[in-house]
Protein backbone atom coordinates (compact mmCIF):
# COMPACT_ATOMS: atom_id res chain seq x y z
CA UNK A 1 0.00 0.00 0.00
CA UNK A 2 1.16 3.52 -0.81
CA UNK A 3 2.92 5.26 2.08
CA UNK A 4 2.63 8.95 2.87
CA UNK A 5 6.25 9.45 1.85
CA UNK A 6 5.63 7.86 -1.54
CA UNK A 7 2.51 9.98 -1.98
CA UNK A 8 4.55 13.13 -1.30
CA UNK A 9 7.25 12.03 -3.74
CA UNK A 10 4.54 11.49 -6.39
CA UNK A 11 3.20 15.00 -5.80
CA UNK A 12 6.56 16.78 -5.79
CA UNK A 13 8.11 14.71 -8.59
CA UNK A 14 5.05 14.90 -10.85
CA UNK A 15 4.72 18.64 -10.36
CA UNK A 16 8.39 19.28 -11.08
CA UNK A 17 8.45 17.16 -14.25
CA UNK A 18 5.24 18.55 -15.75
CA UNK A 19 6.24 22.12 -14.96
CA UNK A 20 9.62 21.68 -16.65
CA UNK A 21 7.92 20.20 -19.73
CA UNK A 22 5.50 23.14 -19.68
CA UNK A 23 8.35 25.68 -19.66
CA UNK A 24 10.10 23.75 -22.44
CA UNK A 25 6.96 23.74 -24.61
CA UNK A 26 6.48 27.46 -24.00
CA UNK A 27 10.01 28.19 -25.26
CA UNK A 28 9.44 25.84 -28.21
CA UNK A 29 6.14 27.56 -29.13
CA UNK A 30 7.72 30.97 -29.51
CA UNK A 31 11.02 29.79 -30.99
CA UNK A 32 12.03 30.76 -34.52
CA UNK A 33 10.37 28.56 -37.10
CA UNK A 34 7.64 27.42 -34.67
CA UNK A 35 6.13 30.81 -33.85
CA UNK A 36 2.87 31.32 -35.72
CA UNK A 37 1.68 34.38 -33.80
CA UNK A 38 2.41 36.87 -36.62
CA UNK A 39 4.80 38.62 -34.25
CA UNK A 40 7.06 39.97 -37.01
CA UNK A 41 4.26 42.07 -38.48
CA UNK A 42 3.44 44.04 -35.35
CA UNK A 43 3.81 47.74 -36.11
CA UNK A 44 3.59 50.77 -33.83
CA UNK A 45 0.08 51.36 -35.10
CA UNK A 46 -0.92 47.79 -34.15
CA UNK A 47 0.47 48.33 -30.65
CA UNK A 48 -1.49 51.61 -30.37
CA UNK A 49 -4.61 49.73 -31.48
CA UNK A 50 -4.04 47.05 -28.85
CA UNK A 51 -3.70 49.74 -26.19
CA UNK A 52 -7.02 51.32 -27.19
CA UNK A 53 -8.56 47.82 -27.22
CA UNK A 54 -7.40 47.24 -23.64
CA UNK A 55 -8.02 50.74 -22.29
CA UNK A 56 -11.71 50.40 -23.18
CA UNK A 57 -12.06 46.76 -22.11
CA UNK A 58 -13.50 45.78 -25.51
CA UNK A 59 -13.00 42.18 -24.43
CA UNK A 60 -15.65 42.74 -21.74
CA UNK A 61 -18.32 42.35 -24.46
CA UNK A 62 -16.62 41.15 -27.66
CA UNK A 63 -14.41 38.14 -28.14
CA UNK A 64 -11.12 38.11 -30.01
CA UNK A 65 -9.13 34.94 -30.74
CA UNK A 66 -12.15 33.33 -29.05
CA UNK A 67 -11.64 35.12 -25.72
CA UNK A 68 -13.89 37.71 -24.17
CA UNK A 69 -17.39 38.41 -22.97
CA UNK A 70 -19.64 36.49 -25.44
CA UNK A 71 -22.02 39.47 -25.45
CA UNK A 72 -20.93 41.07 -28.72
CA UNK A 73 -19.53 39.61 -31.95
CA UNK A 74 -16.24 37.77 -32.34
CA UNK A 75 -13.83 40.25 -33.95
CA UNK A 76 -11.05 37.92 -35.12
CA UNK A 77 -12.24 38.08 -38.73
CA UNK A 78 -14.27 41.27 -38.48
CA UNK A 79 -12.51 42.96 -41.42
CA UNK A 80 -13.27 39.98 -43.67
CA UNK A 81 -16.85 39.99 -42.55
CA UNK A 82 -17.71 43.69 -42.52
CA UNK A 83 -14.88 45.52 -44.26
CA UNK A 84 -12.89 48.44 -42.77
CA UNK A 85 -15.50 51.08 -43.71
CA UNK A 86 -18.24 49.54 -41.59
CA UNK A 87 -15.87 48.92 -38.68
CA UNK A 88 -14.66 52.53 -38.82
CA UNK A 89 -18.25 53.83 -38.77
CA UNK A 90 -19.03 51.76 -35.64
CA UNK A 91 -15.88 52.92 -33.87
CA UNK A 92 -16.47 56.60 -34.64
CA UNK A 93 -20.22 56.60 -33.96
CA UNK A 94 -21.17 59.38 -31.50
CA UNK A 95 -24.34 57.50 -30.51
CA UNK A 96 -24.55 53.91 -29.19
CA UNK A 97 -24.33 51.42 -32.07
CA UNK A 98 -27.40 49.26 -31.66
CA UNK A 99 -27.63 46.28 -34.01
CA UNK A 100 -30.70 44.16 -33.23
CA UNK A 101 -31.34 46.11 -30.05
CA UNK A 102 -28.09 45.35 -28.22
CA UNK A 103 -26.21 48.55 -27.41
CA UNK A 104 -22.51 49.25 -27.72
CA UNK A 105 -20.90 52.07 -25.75
CA UNK A 106 -20.61 55.17 -27.97
CA UNK A 107 -16.85 55.61 -27.91
CA UNK A 108 -16.76 58.25 -30.64
CA UNK A 109 -13.14 57.43 -31.53
CA UNK A 110 -11.13 59.87 -33.64
CA UNK A 111 -10.15 59.02 -37.22
CA UNK A 112 -6.63 58.14 -36.01
CA UNK A 113 -7.81 55.95 -33.14
CA UNK A 114 -10.18 54.10 -35.46
CA UNK A 115 -7.31 53.54 -37.91
CA UNK A 116 -5.14 52.17 -35.07
CA UNK A 117 -7.84 49.70 -34.04
CA UNK A 118 -8.38 48.63 -37.64
CA UNK A 119 -4.62 48.03 -37.97
CA UNK A 120 -4.85 45.88 -34.84
CA UNK A 121 -7.76 43.84 -36.32
CA UNK A 122 -5.84 43.55 -39.58
CA UNK A 123 -2.83 42.11 -37.72
CA UNK A 124 -5.09 39.69 -35.81
CA UNK A 125 -6.59 38.64 -39.17
CA UNK A 126 -3.27 37.17 -40.31
CA UNK A 127 -2.50 34.98 -37.29
CA UNK A 128 -2.45 31.23 -37.96
CA UNK A 129 -5.19 29.99 -35.62
CA UNK A 130 -4.99 26.26 -36.36
CA UNK A 131 -8.31 26.33 -38.24
CA UNK A 132 -10.36 28.47 -35.81
CA UNK A 133 -10.17 31.44 -38.20
CA UNK A 134 -12.27 29.46 -40.65
CA UNK A 135 -14.88 28.61 -38.02
CA UNK A 136 -15.47 32.26 -37.20
CA UNK A 137 -15.27 33.59 -40.73
CA UNK A 138 -18.44 33.50 -42.85
CA UNK A 139 -16.18 33.50 -45.91
CA UNK A 140 -15.24 29.96 -45.02
CA UNK A 141 -18.83 28.71 -45.20
CA UNK A 142 -18.98 25.09 -46.17
CA UNK A 143 -15.29 24.48 -45.71
CA UNK A 144 -14.10 21.93 -43.20
CA UNK A 145 -11.85 23.73 -40.71
CA UNK A 146 -10.28 20.43 -39.65
CA UNK A 147 -9.04 19.77 -43.17
CA UNK A 148 -6.22 22.36 -43.02
CA UNK A 149 -3.41 19.96 -43.82
CA UNK A 150 -5.10 18.28 -46.75
CA UNK A 151 -5.69 21.46 -48.71
Amino acid sequence: MLSKKQARAFFLGGTMVTFLIFIGLTIYSFSKGQDQSNYGNITEQVVRGKKIWEANNCMGCHTILGEGGYYAPELTKVLDRRGPGYVKAVLMSPIPWEPNGRKMVAYGFSEEEAADLIAFFDWIDDIDLNGFDRVVSPLAKGEDPLATEEE
Partner: protein, 448 residues
Protein backbone atom coordinates in the same frame (compact mmCIF):
# COMPACT_ATOMS: atom_id res chain seq x y z
CA UNK B 1 -11.95 27.67 18.31
CA UNK B 2 -8.71 26.97 20.13
CA UNK B 3 -6.87 30.27 19.67
CA UNK B 4 -8.17 33.79 20.12
CA UNK B 5 -6.50 35.06 16.98
CA UNK B 6 -8.61 32.70 14.84
CA UNK B 7 -11.44 35.21 15.26
CA UNK B 8 -9.89 37.42 12.61
CA UNK B 9 -11.20 34.90 10.07
CA UNK B 10 -14.75 36.04 10.82
CA UNK B 11 -14.18 39.47 9.29
CA UNK B 12 -12.65 38.02 6.14
CA UNK B 13 -15.70 35.77 5.83
CA UNK B 14 -18.06 38.70 6.44
CA UNK B 15 -16.26 40.67 3.72
CA UNK B 16 -16.63 37.65 1.42
CA UNK B 17 -20.40 37.56 1.98
CA UNK B 18 -20.72 41.25 1.20
CA UNK B 19 -18.80 40.85 -2.06
CA UNK B 20 -20.82 37.76 -2.98
CA UNK B 21 -24.05 39.76 -2.72
CA UNK B 22 -22.55 42.48 -4.92
CA UNK B 23 -21.34 39.87 -7.41
CA UNK B 24 -24.86 38.46 -7.74
CA UNK B 25 -26.27 41.96 -8.23
CA UNK B 26 -23.95 42.57 -11.19
CA UNK B 27 -24.75 39.11 -12.50
CA UNK B 28 -28.42 40.11 -12.68
CA UNK B 29 -27.50 43.33 -14.50
CA UNK B 30 -25.77 41.19 -17.14
CA UNK B 31 -28.60 38.64 -17.30
CA UNK B 32 -31.24 41.32 -17.86
CA UNK B 33 -29.05 43.07 -20.46
CA UNK B 34 -28.99 39.80 -22.40
CA UNK B 35 -32.77 39.81 -22.69
CA UNK B 36 -32.83 43.41 -23.83
CA UNK B 37 -33.49 45.07 -20.47
CA UNK B 38 -30.40 47.26 -20.37
CA UNK B 39 -31.73 50.42 -18.75
CA UNK B 40 -28.47 50.81 -16.81
CA UNK B 41 -26.37 50.77 -20.00
CA UNK B 42 -25.33 54.43 -19.70
CA UNK B 43 -23.98 53.94 -16.16
CA UNK B 44 -23.06 50.27 -16.07
CA UNK B 45 -22.50 48.95 -19.60
CA UNK B 46 -22.05 45.19 -20.03
CA UNK B 47 -18.23 45.29 -20.01
CA UNK B 48 -18.28 47.12 -16.67
CA UNK B 49 -20.82 44.70 -15.18
CA UNK B 50 -18.80 41.74 -16.42
CA UNK B 51 -15.48 43.01 -15.05
CA UNK B 52 -17.12 43.73 -11.69
CA UNK B 53 -18.92 40.34 -11.66
CA UNK B 54 -15.78 38.28 -12.35
CA UNK B 55 -13.41 40.34 -10.22
CA UNK B 56 -15.77 40.25 -7.26
CA UNK B 57 -15.82 36.48 -7.64
CA UNK B 58 -12.04 36.35 -7.45
CA UNK B 59 -11.85 38.72 -4.49
CA UNK B 60 -14.62 37.08 -2.42
CA UNK B 61 -13.02 33.70 -2.97
CA UNK B 62 -9.56 35.06 -2.09
CA UNK B 63 -10.97 36.73 1.00
CA UNK B 64 -12.59 33.40 1.90
CA UNK B 65 -9.29 31.54 1.35
CA UNK B 66 -7.48 34.11 3.49
CA UNK B 67 -10.09 33.77 6.24
CA UNK B 68 -9.75 29.99 5.98
CA UNK B 69 -5.97 30.28 6.35
CA UNK B 70 -6.29 32.59 9.38
CA UNK B 71 -8.62 30.05 10.96
CA UNK B 72 -6.78 26.86 9.99
CA UNK B 73 -3.10 27.77 10.34
CA UNK B 74 -3.13 28.68 14.09
CA UNK B 75 -5.04 25.48 14.84
CA UNK B 76 -2.71 23.33 12.77
CA UNK B 77 0.47 25.07 13.97
CA UNK B 78 -0.84 25.09 17.56
CA UNK B 79 -0.07 28.72 18.31
CA UNK B 80 -1.65 32.16 18.03
CA UNK B 81 -1.29 34.14 14.81
CA UNK B 82 1.91 36.23 14.97
CA UNK B 83 0.03 39.53 14.64
CA UNK B 84 -3.71 40.03 14.75
CA UNK B 85 -3.32 43.79 14.20
CA UNK B 86 -1.47 43.26 10.93
CA UNK B 87 -4.10 40.77 9.83
CA UNK B 88 -6.74 43.51 10.24
CA UNK B 89 -4.48 45.95 8.37
CA UNK B 90 -4.28 43.37 5.59
CA UNK B 91 -8.08 42.97 5.49
CA UNK B 92 -8.67 46.73 5.36
CA UNK B 93 -6.07 47.22 2.62
CA UNK B 94 -7.60 44.34 0.64
CA UNK B 95 -11.00 46.00 0.95
CA UNK B 96 -9.61 49.39 -0.12
CA UNK B 97 -7.89 47.95 -3.21
CA UNK B 98 -11.05 46.02 -4.10
CA UNK B 99 -13.32 49.05 -3.73
CA UNK B 100 -10.91 51.27 -5.71
CA UNK B 101 -10.82 48.73 -8.54
CA UNK B 102 -14.58 48.32 -8.68
CA UNK B 103 -15.24 52.06 -8.65
CA UNK B 104 -12.52 52.47 -11.30
CA UNK B 105 -14.26 50.00 -13.61
CA UNK B 106 -17.26 52.34 -13.72
CA UNK B 107 -15.01 55.14 -15.00
CA UNK B 108 -13.14 53.20 -17.69
CA UNK B 109 -10.10 52.66 -15.43
CA UNK B 110 -8.92 49.13 -16.12
CA UNK B 111 -6.53 47.01 -18.11
CA UNK B 112 -9.17 45.37 -20.28
CA UNK B 113 -7.64 41.90 -20.03
CA UNK B 114 -10.16 39.20 -19.22
CA UNK B 115 -10.16 38.34 -15.47
CA UNK B 116 -7.12 40.56 -14.88
CA UNK B 117 -8.80 43.91 -15.38
CA UNK B 118 -7.28 45.47 -12.25
CA UNK B 119 -5.23 48.54 -13.33
CA UNK B 120 -1.44 48.18 -13.15
CA UNK B 121 -1.10 50.71 -10.31
CA UNK B 122 -3.41 48.63 -8.13
CA UNK B 123 -1.59 45.43 -9.14
CA UNK B 124 1.38 46.58 -7.07
CA UNK B 125 -0.85 47.19 -4.04
CA UNK B 126 -2.29 43.68 -4.49
CA UNK B 127 1.26 42.31 -4.40
CA UNK B 128 2.06 44.21 -1.17
CA UNK B 129 -1.21 43.03 0.38
CA UNK B 130 -0.60 39.40 -0.51
CA UNK B 131 3.00 39.57 0.74
CA UNK B 132 1.73 40.81 4.10
CA UNK B 133 -0.83 38.01 4.23
CA UNK B 134 1.75 35.36 3.30
CA UNK B 135 4.22 36.75 5.83
CA UNK B 136 1.66 36.41 8.63
CA UNK B 137 0.66 32.90 7.64
CA UNK B 138 4.13 31.52 6.95
CA UNK B 139 5.76 33.02 10.07
CA UNK B 140 2.92 31.60 12.19
CA UNK B 141 3.35 28.21 10.56
CA UNK B 142 7.12 28.07 11.00
CA UNK B 143 7.05 29.36 14.57
CA UNK B 144 4.36 26.81 15.40
CA UNK B 145 4.68 23.59 17.36
CA UNK B 146 3.91 21.38 14.38
CA UNK B 147 3.89 21.60 10.59
CA UNK B 148 1.12 19.40 9.28
CA UNK B 149 0.69 18.34 5.68
CA UNK B 150 -2.69 20.08 5.62
CA UNK B 151 -1.10 23.38 6.67
CA UNK B 152 1.82 22.96 4.28
CA UNK B 153 -0.41 22.19 1.27
CA UNK B 154 -2.67 25.13 2.08
CA UNK B 155 0.29 27.49 2.52
CA UNK B 156 1.99 26.19 -0.60
CA UNK B 157 -1.20 26.87 -2.58
CA UNK B 158 -1.38 30.42 -1.24
CA UNK B 159 2.32 31.05 -1.93
CA UNK B 160 2.16 29.72 -5.50
CA UNK B 161 -1.04 31.69 -6.12
CA UNK B 162 0.86 34.85 -5.19
CA UNK B 163 3.85 33.97 -7.38
CA UNK B 164 1.64 33.14 -10.35
CA UNK B 165 0.05 36.58 -10.20
CA UNK B 166 3.33 38.00 -11.53
CA UNK B 167 3.23 36.70 -15.17
CA UNK B 168 -0.09 38.57 -15.50
CA UNK B 169 1.73 41.83 -14.87
CA UNK B 170 4.14 41.43 -17.80
CA UNK B 171 3.42 43.87 -20.65
CA UNK B 172 3.28 42.46 -24.21
CA UNK B 173 2.83 44.08 -27.61
CA UNK B 174 1.38 40.88 -29.03
CA UNK B 175 -2.21 39.92 -28.24
CA UNK B 176 -1.20 36.27 -28.61
CA UNK B 177 1.58 36.47 -26.00
CA UNK B 178 -0.64 38.56 -23.76
CA UNK B 179 -3.26 35.86 -23.89
CA UNK B 180 -0.71 33.06 -23.54
CA UNK B 181 0.75 34.41 -20.29
CA UNK B 182 -2.62 35.58 -18.96
CA UNK B 183 -3.54 31.89 -18.81
CA UNK B 184 -0.45 31.24 -16.70
CA UNK B 185 -2.28 33.24 -14.07
CA UNK B 186 -5.89 32.32 -14.68
CA UNK B 187 -5.58 28.62 -15.59
CA UNK B 188 -2.73 27.79 -13.25
CA UNK B 189 -4.69 29.46 -10.49
CA UNK B 190 -8.04 27.78 -10.95
CA UNK B 191 -6.90 24.44 -12.32
CA UNK B 192 -3.67 24.32 -10.35
CA UNK B 193 -2.71 26.10 -7.16
CA UNK B 194 -6.24 27.00 -6.06
CA UNK B 195 -6.86 23.27 -5.97
CA UNK B 196 -4.04 23.02 -3.43
CA UNK B 197 -5.89 25.59 -1.33
CA UNK B 198 -9.16 23.71 -1.85
CA UNK B 199 -7.42 20.41 -1.00
CA UNK B 200 -5.92 21.89 2.17
CA UNK B 201 -9.26 23.26 3.36
CA UNK B 202 -11.03 20.01 2.40
CA UNK B 203 -8.46 17.96 4.28
CA UNK B 204 -8.83 20.13 7.41
CA UNK B 205 -12.62 19.85 7.28
CA UNK B 206 -12.56 16.08 6.75
CA UNK B 207 -10.17 15.59 9.67
CA UNK B 208 -12.48 17.65 11.89
CA UNK B 209 -15.83 16.42 10.63
CA UNK B 210 -15.23 12.71 10.04
CA UNK B 211 -12.75 11.88 12.76
CA UNK B 212 -10.72 9.75 10.33
CA UNK B 213 -7.02 9.52 11.15
CA UNK B 214 -5.03 12.53 9.95
CA UNK B 215 -2.30 10.34 8.44
CA UNK B 216 -4.79 8.60 6.15
CA UNK B 217 -6.44 11.82 5.01
CA UNK B 218 -3.16 13.63 4.42
CA UNK B 219 -1.66 10.76 2.44
CA UNK B 220 -4.57 10.92 -0.01
CA UNK B 221 -4.31 14.70 -0.06
CA UNK B 222 -0.82 14.32 -1.55
CA UNK B 223 -2.10 11.89 -4.16
CA UNK B 224 -4.93 14.22 -5.16
CA UNK B 225 -2.86 17.39 -5.42
CA UNK B 226 -0.26 15.31 -7.27
CA UNK B 227 -2.88 14.26 -9.82
CA UNK B 228 -4.06 17.87 -10.04
CA UNK B 229 -0.66 19.17 -11.05
CA UNK B 230 0.18 16.20 -13.23
CA UNK B 231 -2.88 16.92 -15.39
CA UNK B 232 -3.50 20.61 -14.74
CA UNK B 233 -0.13 22.16 -15.61
CA UNK B 234 0.07 20.75 -19.13
CA UNK B 235 -3.74 20.95 -19.33
CA UNK B 236 -3.16 24.71 -19.71
CA UNK B 237 -2.71 23.72 -23.35
CA UNK B 238 -6.48 23.67 -23.89
CA UNK B 239 -6.43 27.46 -23.77
CA UNK B 240 -3.74 27.51 -26.47
CA UNK B 241 -5.44 25.53 -29.23
CA UNK B 242 -6.79 28.44 -31.24
CA UNK B 243 -5.13 31.64 -30.05
CA UNK B 244 -2.21 31.66 -32.48
CA UNK B 245 0.36 29.30 -31.01
CA UNK B 246 1.92 26.06 -32.18
CA UNK B 247 -0.14 22.95 -32.96
CA UNK B 248 1.83 20.98 -30.37
CA UNK B 249 -0.64 22.32 -27.80
CA UNK B 250 -3.51 20.52 -29.56
CA UNK B 251 -1.90 17.21 -28.66
CA UNK B 252 -0.48 18.11 -25.25
CA UNK B 253 -3.54 20.07 -24.13
CA UNK B 254 -5.91 17.41 -25.46
CA UNK B 255 -4.25 14.53 -23.61
CA UNK B 256 -3.64 16.26 -20.29
CA UNK B 257 -7.01 18.02 -20.21
CA UNK B 258 -8.65 14.63 -20.62
CA UNK B 259 -6.84 13.60 -17.43
CA UNK B 260 -8.02 16.63 -15.45
CA UNK B 261 -11.38 15.11 -14.45
CA UNK B 262 -9.46 12.26 -12.76
CA UNK B 263 -8.09 14.65 -10.13
CA UNK B 264 -11.59 15.91 -9.39
CA UNK B 265 -13.00 12.37 -9.39
CA UNK B 266 -10.28 11.38 -6.92
CA UNK B 267 -11.20 14.34 -4.74
CA UNK B 268 -14.90 13.41 -4.76
CA UNK B 269 -14.19 9.72 -4.00
CA UNK B 270 -11.74 10.76 -1.29
CA UNK B 271 -14.27 13.00 0.47
CA UNK B 272 -17.14 10.49 0.25
CA UNK B 273 -14.94 7.57 1.39
CA UNK B 274 -13.56 9.50 4.36
CA UNK B 275 -17.12 10.36 5.34
CA UNK B 276 -18.18 6.70 5.09
CA UNK B 277 -15.13 5.58 7.07
CA UNK B 278 -15.69 8.20 9.75
CA UNK B 279 -17.64 8.08 12.97
CA UNK B 280 -20.36 10.46 11.75
CA UNK B 281 -20.51 11.90 15.26
CA UNK B 282 -19.78 15.54 14.52
CA UNK B 283 -22.98 17.55 15.02
CA UNK B 284 -22.23 20.20 12.36
CA UNK B 285 -24.24 18.60 9.55
CA UNK B 286 -24.47 21.81 7.52
CA UNK B 287 -20.68 22.03 7.26
CA UNK B 288 -20.62 18.38 6.19
CA UNK B 289 -23.21 19.10 3.46
CA UNK B 290 -21.09 21.90 2.01
CA UNK B 291 -17.85 19.91 2.32
CA UNK B 292 -19.09 16.79 0.53
CA UNK B 293 -21.14 18.95 -1.84
CA UNK B 294 -18.03 20.87 -2.87
CA UNK B 295 -16.08 17.71 -3.64
CA UNK B 296 -18.94 16.24 -5.72
CA UNK B 297 -20.10 19.39 -7.54
CA UNK B 298 -16.51 20.32 -8.43
CA UNK B 299 -16.16 16.93 -10.12
CA UNK B 300 -19.27 17.60 -12.22
CA UNK B 301 -18.64 21.31 -12.89
CA UNK B 302 -14.89 21.48 -13.21
CA UNK B 303 -14.15 17.89 -14.17
CA UNK B 304 -16.93 16.61 -16.42
CA UNK B 305 -18.21 19.87 -17.88
CA UNK B 306 -14.63 21.03 -18.41
CA UNK B 307 -13.85 17.83 -20.30
CA UNK B 308 -17.02 18.37 -22.35
CA UNK B 309 -15.24 21.08 -24.32
CA UNK B 310 -11.51 20.63 -23.92
CA UNK B 311 -11.08 18.07 -26.67
CA UNK B 312 -9.54 20.05 -29.55
CA UNK B 313 -12.15 18.77 -32.02
CA UNK B 314 -14.99 20.04 -29.80
CA UNK B 315 -13.25 23.18 -28.65
CA UNK B 316 -12.76 24.29 -32.25
CA UNK B 317 -16.50 25.06 -32.27
CA UNK B 318 -17.18 25.86 -28.61
CA UNK B 319 -14.17 28.19 -28.11
CA UNK B 320 -15.48 31.67 -27.38
CA UNK B 321 -19.11 30.69 -26.87
CA UNK B 322 -21.51 30.46 -23.94
CA UNK B 323 -20.46 26.83 -23.47
CA UNK B 324 -17.50 28.25 -21.54
CA UNK B 325 -19.86 30.21 -19.27
CA UNK B 326 -21.75 26.96 -18.60
CA UNK B 327 -18.61 25.19 -17.39
CA UNK B 328 -17.26 28.26 -15.61
CA UNK B 329 -20.28 28.81 -13.38
CA UNK B 330 -20.61 25.27 -12.00
CA UNK B 331 -16.84 24.83 -11.75
CA UNK B 332 -16.22 27.97 -9.70
CA UNK B 333 -19.27 27.30 -7.57
CA UNK B 334 -18.44 23.67 -6.83
CA UNK B 335 -14.71 23.84 -6.40
CA UNK B 336 -14.26 27.19 -4.74
CA UNK B 337 -17.56 28.84 -3.78
CA UNK B 338 -18.81 25.78 -1.90
CA UNK B 339 -15.51 25.07 -0.13
CA UNK B 340 -15.45 28.65 1.18
CA UNK B 341 -19.05 28.26 2.38
CA UNK B 342 -18.03 24.91 3.95
CA UNK B 343 -15.21 26.38 6.01
CA UNK B 344 -17.47 29.29 7.03
CA UNK B 345 -20.21 26.85 8.12
CA UNK B 346 -17.68 24.84 10.10
CA UNK B 347 -15.87 27.72 11.78
CA UNK B 348 -18.72 30.16 12.53
CA UNK B 349 -20.26 28.14 15.39
CA UNK B 350 -16.76 27.68 16.83
CA UNK B 351 -15.97 31.39 16.67
CA UNK B 352 -19.31 32.69 17.92
CA UNK B 353 -20.39 29.92 20.26
CA UNK B 354 -23.82 29.70 18.61
CA UNK B 355 -24.26 26.17 17.43
CA UNK B 356 -26.62 26.49 14.47
CA UNK B 357 -25.47 23.08 13.33
CA UNK B 358 -28.41 21.55 11.58
CA UNK B 359 -31.22 24.05 11.12
CA UNK B 360 -33.90 23.98 8.42
CA UNK B 361 -32.64 27.32 7.08
CA UNK B 362 -29.11 26.03 6.68
CA UNK B 363 -30.30 22.95 4.76
CA UNK B 364 -32.67 25.06 2.64
CA UNK B 365 -29.75 27.39 1.78
CA UNK B 366 -27.67 24.43 0.59
CA UNK B 367 -30.34 22.85 -1.58
CA UNK B 368 -31.83 26.06 -2.97
CA UNK B 369 -28.46 27.48 -3.98
CA UNK B 370 -27.35 24.22 -5.56
CA UNK B 371 -30.57 23.57 -7.47
CA UNK B 372 -30.47 27.18 -8.67
CA UNK B 373 -26.87 26.85 -9.85
CA UNK B 374 -27.56 23.56 -11.65
CA UNK B 375 -30.48 25.28 -13.41
CA UNK B 376 -28.24 28.18 -14.41
CA UNK B 377 -25.66 25.75 -15.76
CA UNK B 378 -28.30 23.98 -17.87
CA UNK B 379 -29.59 27.33 -19.19
CA UNK B 380 -26.07 28.42 -20.17
CA UNK B 381 -25.42 24.99 -21.67
CA UNK B 382 -28.54 24.97 -23.86
CA UNK B 383 -27.86 28.54 -24.99
CA UNK B 384 -24.21 27.68 -25.67
CA UNK B 385 -24.90 24.53 -27.68
CA UNK B 386 -27.59 26.34 -29.71
CA UNK B 387 -25.11 29.18 -30.33
CA UNK B 388 -22.46 26.72 -31.51
CA UNK B 389 -24.76 25.11 -34.04
CA UNK B 390 -26.42 28.27 -35.33
CA UNK B 391 -23.40 30.57 -35.40
CA UNK B 392 -20.47 28.25 -35.93
CA UNK B 393 -22.05 25.48 -38.02
CA UNK B 394 -24.80 27.31 -39.91
CA UNK B 395 -22.81 30.59 -40.03
CA UNK B 396 -25.75 32.72 -38.90
CA UNK B 397 -25.05 36.30 -37.80
CA UNK B 398 -24.00 36.73 -34.16
CA UNK B 399 -26.86 39.02 -33.14
CA UNK B 400 -29.50 37.00 -34.98
CA UNK B 401 -28.35 33.98 -32.97
CA UNK B 402 -28.34 35.99 -29.74
CA UNK B 403 -31.96 36.91 -30.29
CA UNK B 404 -32.82 33.28 -31.01
CA UNK B 405 -31.30 32.09 -27.75
CA UNK B 406 -32.45 34.97 -25.51
CA UNK B 407 -35.28 32.83 -24.06
CA UNK B 408 -32.65 30.72 -22.29
CA UNK B 409 -31.55 33.83 -20.44
CA UNK B 410 -35.06 34.22 -19.04
CA UNK B 411 -34.63 30.68 -17.66
CA UNK B 412 -31.17 31.72 -16.45
CA UNK B 413 -32.60 34.68 -14.53
CA UNK B 414 -35.28 32.50 -12.91
CA UNK B 415 -32.66 29.95 -11.81
CA UNK B 416 -30.33 32.74 -10.68
CA UNK B 417 -33.17 34.06 -8.49
CA UNK B 418 -33.44 30.63 -6.87
CA UNK B 419 -29.67 30.57 -6.38
CA UNK B 420 -29.77 34.05 -4.83
CA UNK B 421 -32.55 32.96 -2.47
CA UNK B 422 -30.25 30.19 -1.26
CA UNK B 423 -27.39 32.62 -0.73
CA UNK B 424 -29.67 35.02 1.17
CA UNK B 425 -30.72 32.16 3.47
CA UNK B 426 -27.05 31.34 4.00
CA UNK B 427 -26.27 34.95 4.86
CA UNK B 428 -29.21 35.13 7.29
CA UNK B 429 -27.70 32.12 9.06
CA UNK B 430 -24.32 33.90 9.00
CA UNK B 431 -25.80 36.99 10.65
CA UNK B 432 -27.80 34.91 13.18
CA UNK B 433 -24.57 33.42 14.46
CA UNK B 434 -23.66 36.82 15.88
CA UNK B 435 -20.12 38.09 16.39
CA UNK B 436 -17.06 36.07 17.42
CA UNK B 437 -16.20 36.21 21.11
CA UNK B 438 -13.72 34.81 23.60
CA UNK B 439 -16.41 32.88 25.47
CA UNK B 440 -16.65 30.64 22.42
CA UNK B 441 -13.01 29.79 23.02
CA UNK B 442 -13.76 28.43 26.48
CA UNK B 443 -16.94 26.64 25.37
CA UNK B 444 -15.11 24.67 22.72
CA UNK B 445 -12.27 23.85 25.06
CA UNK B 446 -14.72 22.51 27.64
CA UNK B 447 -16.62 20.49 25.04
CA UNK B 448 -13.37 19.00 23.74
Amino acid sequence: MKYKSQKVAYWFFAFSMLLLVLQLTYGFIMGFARIGMDGLHDFIPFNTARAVHTNLLVVWLLSGFMGAAYYIIPEEAQRELVSVKLAYVQLISLALVGVAAIIGYHFNWWEGRKFLEIPRQLDFLVVVNVLLFLGLILVTLFKGKRKTTTALVLSMGLLFAALLYLPGMLPFDSQVMDSFFRWWVVHLWVEGVWELIMGGILSFLLIKLTGVDREVIEKWLYVIVGLTFLSGVLGTGHHYYYIGVNKIWLIVGGIFSAMEPLAFLAMALFAVNMYRKGEKKHPNKIALFWTLGSAIVSFVGAGLLGFAHTLPQTNLYTHGTLVTAMHGHLAFWGAYGMIVLAIISYSLPNMTGRKLYDGARGRAAFWTANIGMVGMTVAFGVAGVAQVYLERKLKMDFMVVQNEISIHFVVLIICASLFTAGIILYIIDFVKHGRPNDEALEMVEVSQ
